[in-house]
């Protein structure tokens, strides 16, 4: 199998950076899921799609806009009416969904190459993300598991909170390096580590 090239490579420098002498408050990494799939239901078919997601991933989506959850291996969240992003460490998710999500329910779009998943974690994750996105990252407004669609200038992003101080950000691959550089830059003042 041919390994996928990361778009971040030349700018991905493992180790501690910035103002880390006083401790690292941010950890940045690329999660490199094997599969990233977008699912979209026809109006009225959302329940069937959600049950299809459960069949394939074992994850039972909570109700409501932007609801989602993650078991550490697979993640799913809603990002638009009737639309969901699913990520899995393993490859082949699109094919698995193609068997379950029939044309009568909705569509499956494989974005495994097209989106880059960047993880930001640590006590200052909310602080650093607030420099980019005009959304409220406080836990009550953005609960664990939930997803958000938002944008930083031209960089469209889907963000899932995967724990109290951890967020997975899905950006377009072509923007990923530029966004990564900005993320590192913004993390300098609190000290960050790339893993």
């Amino acid at each position: 199998m041919v390994e996928r090239q990361s778009p971040l490579e030349p700018e991905f420098h493992v180790g501690s950076h910035g103002n880390f002498e006083h401790g690292v408050e941010i950890i940045l990494t690329e999660t490199r899921p094997g599969s990233i799939v977008q699912l979209a239901a026809w109006p009225g078919e959302e329940k069937k799609l959600i049950s299809g997601i459960r069949t394939v991933t074992g994850l039972a989506l909570p109700d409501g806009a932007g609801g989602g959850l993650s078991d550490g291996v697979k993640s799913v969240f809603g990002f638009a009416p009737g639309k969901f992003t699913v990520a899995d460490e393993a490859e082949g998710l699109a094919a698995a969904f193609a068997r379950v999500v029939t044309p009568a329910i909705g569509t499956v779009t494989d974005l495994s190459h097209g989106r880059t998943a960047i993880r930001i974690a640590g006590p200052k994750a909310e602080w650093v993300l607030a420099k980019f996105f005009a959304i409220d990252f406080a836990l009550p407004a953005f609960p664990v598991g939930a997803g958000r669609s938002t944008t930083h200038h031209d960089v469209f992003a889907q963000i899932q909170r995967t724990s109290a101080d951890q967020f997975d950000i899905y950006v377009f691959r072509s923007f990923a390096r530029s966004f990564w550089k900005a993320l590192c830059h913004a993390s300098e003042e609190v000290g960050y580590e790339v893993q």
Binding site: V2, Q5, H113, H153, F172, E189
Partner: protein
Amino acid sequence: MSPRRTDTGGRIDRLKTIRFTFDGVAYTGHAGDTLASALLAKGVTLFGRSFKYHRPRGLLTAGVEEPNALVTVLKGEVREPNIPATMVEIHDGLVAISQNRFPSLAWDINAVNQLGGKLLSAGFYYKTFMGPVVGPLKGTRFWMVCERFIRRAAGLGSAGSAKDPARYERMNAFCDVLVVGSGPAGLMAAKAAADQGARVMLADLEPRFGGSANWSGETIDGAPASDWARRTVAQLEGRDNVRLLPRTTVWGYYDNNTLAALERVTDHKEQPGKGEPRHRYWAIRAKSVVLATGAFERPLVFPGNDRPGVMLAHAAERYANEFGVLPGERIALFTNNDSAYRVAVALKKAGAAVVAIADVRPELSAEMRKLAEEVDAEILAGHAVVATEGGRALSGLKLQRFDMANGTLTGDARSIHADCLLMSGGWSPTIHLASQAGAKAQWNAARQAFLPPKPTQQWPTQQWIGAGAFTGSFSTAEAIAEGRAAGLAAAGATGTPTALPTVEAVPGDPDPAPVFEIRAKGKSFVDFQHDVTAEDVRLAHREGFVSVEHLKRYTTLGMATDQGKSSNIPGLAIMAEALGKPIPEVGTTRFRPPFAPVSIGSLAAERFGDLKPERLTPMHDWHVANGATMYSAGLWYRPMIYGDAGETVEQAYVREAKATRESAGIVDVSTLGKIAVQGPDAAAFLDRVYTNMFSTLAVGKARYGLMLREDGLAFDDGTTWRLGEQDFLMTTTTANAGKVMQHLEYFLDVIWPELKVHVTSVTDEWAGAAIGGPKARQILAACVTSTAVDNATLPFMGIVRGEIADVPVMICRLSFSGEMAFEVYSGAGHGTHVWEALIEAGKPFGLVTYGLEALGTMRIEKGHVTGAEIDGRTTARDLHLDWMLSKKKPFIGSAMMDREGLIASDRLELVGLIALDNRPLNGGAHIVEEVDEANPHGSIGHITACCYSPALGKHIALALVKGGKARRGTRAHVSDPLRNRFGPVEIVSNHFFDPEGTRMHG
């Protein structure tokens, strides 16, 4: 005698000495000092020269409203001008210089301007433009000479040209309650709201929270007010639902309680921390806003009121109580209200002699008389200051009897020796943010001030609650009570509040006497920063300016960097008097953002230089490593040429294009917009979106499509591939990818919601490589596995799936270059891997990489259109694409495309041009029938794209020419006066090369 530091008192740290320079002279101050307080403590009274007259100026205030003491702060090569010395916190190594003086602050050559005062009166800018209409200088250039002199002489600090290396950042914040101002009202509001569990942000433009508590000398809950403030701040600091923002100016109030603030993060530090921004621009979205922004004290307008040593009363109180600095030894006060008496008490306590209190009011309350007696000051009720004396520092003042009822002065002038004169003309609530938020201020006759309106009269999209001096409640006890109520209301609380702290304060009536100006001989300043005098205001009135908005613009009153914080109301009062109208009828101007100057860097934040977002294709690093010159196309970076050593751009693209036509070339086409169009109605949808049919397209085939806009003009073109019955891959031009996506989404969401179609941007999912040329198929055959690529398996516009170097690929046989060509798509993460495999397979065949220049050259040779021709003004017919307009179905634009104007015979139509003089052509050059170099005219069109064509060996171009099709075979001329290029051209078909397409069909 001069100002000095007191032995005790103040919130400064006397144990910490800080070294800085001002105008090259070394000074020391203490931690907690501003540049103003530190210099004042060293006896400095002269801080700057005034805008027009270059009059010596000292400190008027102690805060953000300072109009006189503006300095330039130097950080290395970077200079930041026009910062009030009152807002500069000193730090070791601070370098500040004074402004608007030559050769030095003390001896300023332009002070001669004071003699030419008449020349520089109100509206002088307008007048100088007109010049004298009578007299000996009529029609001469004398006024222009004057104007140049005036413009150079008038001004503030000068900006630097060095690149600012500082970091600026933007921050988004959300809260339940934003409290602006941290005086007793703001502190109490923040605490009350925080106690309710609300998410609270508290911002203050000062480094020290507490506002007036830091200098009022009052007692709260039995302790000094400053201690109470410190304790309250400490309580707030420990809570995780509270964010405290010192040094943060809330400067803009926008719709839906969105506020803009500037945090000065490191200006007060010798060295910023690693990664620390200099300024942070906070965009705050608050559910509720509490405005506790306090009030500004007003100067009185009288001759010589701008002399160094004349200061606002509360500023002196602040210097004494907060910074431990006495602004003078022998202090006189001049007031129209009671608040100055508390100042007298404070200064006496701090060690100064208070020689006299002149009060315009004939009758004084027993309490005020008692206070005056306590400080051993002579009481001069019913008196006014009519002149001040001294040079760069005050030496004395002159007083006369004053009748408040009619403004007349009587009796002999009496002189008083004093080195400091404090004035108080009453207080104006700081209603700027409320005014920005749409609130219409209301005149309160008792307070002689504009007060914010009641909550019910507020603008619907901005809801704030006021507290303290902002509302005209000038006592600390009222401020605390209002602050608590505001905090509770903002947090939506209903429970019973905790007890209020008790305040012990000097008594006083909050209402001033309605006196703004003492009319006597001499320049009486209204706007200190723009040198606008009371006489200027009256002159403007005499010259016919009756509206307050016109007055402002004509005199420039209130238009300086301080935005008239101290001058607005006195100016308005003088205008009202001149008009013979009451103040509320004259009205006030609306305040606009920013409240105080904002650094441009903070607004740009991270969006410049290295951090500007950019898009890179999967093969970007390969291109760079292999000698490509990258070219920015929108946000994308694409190879322009892969130049060999010593090659010019033209030599490189000619070589690349030639090699492609002779053997094969490969180009990165990953930037093309790609949209997955999926669903049972996908084919029907495409039939509506494209001018031609897609429902008839077989699975595994691609078709070139054209889209129009609703108005019938051409919009975009590209190929769309049918990957499955309900699964299409649409490609768009690079530039229009986003627009096409929005176009499709709009129609699906708004016009045809019944269609079951999903569209998804998959531009980034696929890496694309276009390989074309006579050897292209052989190269593919050498590296593609799992499928054949022969003509039967992969006919023109056919699609196959296979593998290259163990990676799945999708190959479509289509051509932009006009050669036998293929687009090879692979997963983006495999893009470089596949690209390298293709390059390797192509080596024996002479495969070259080519960039945008060669791509453009080959498309011009083929006469294909791009955004240069689909320019939003051309129709399908103009571009000879009318063969694509289906007659079997309606499509977007079909109803409007046949309008009279869009089918006229003299429209600009696409043609080819060949330079008959064998010289290069230029994009944008005009086409004419007859050349007239001296008087270029008669354009019949213009060039949209041009190149040297290696295939034809000629300089060619595409052009849009009036009635172009009918002109084929005729001659015309290129007329390009800007570049001095004139010459004959032949008009031909846009299909220069292989018009039958035999090469690509193979």
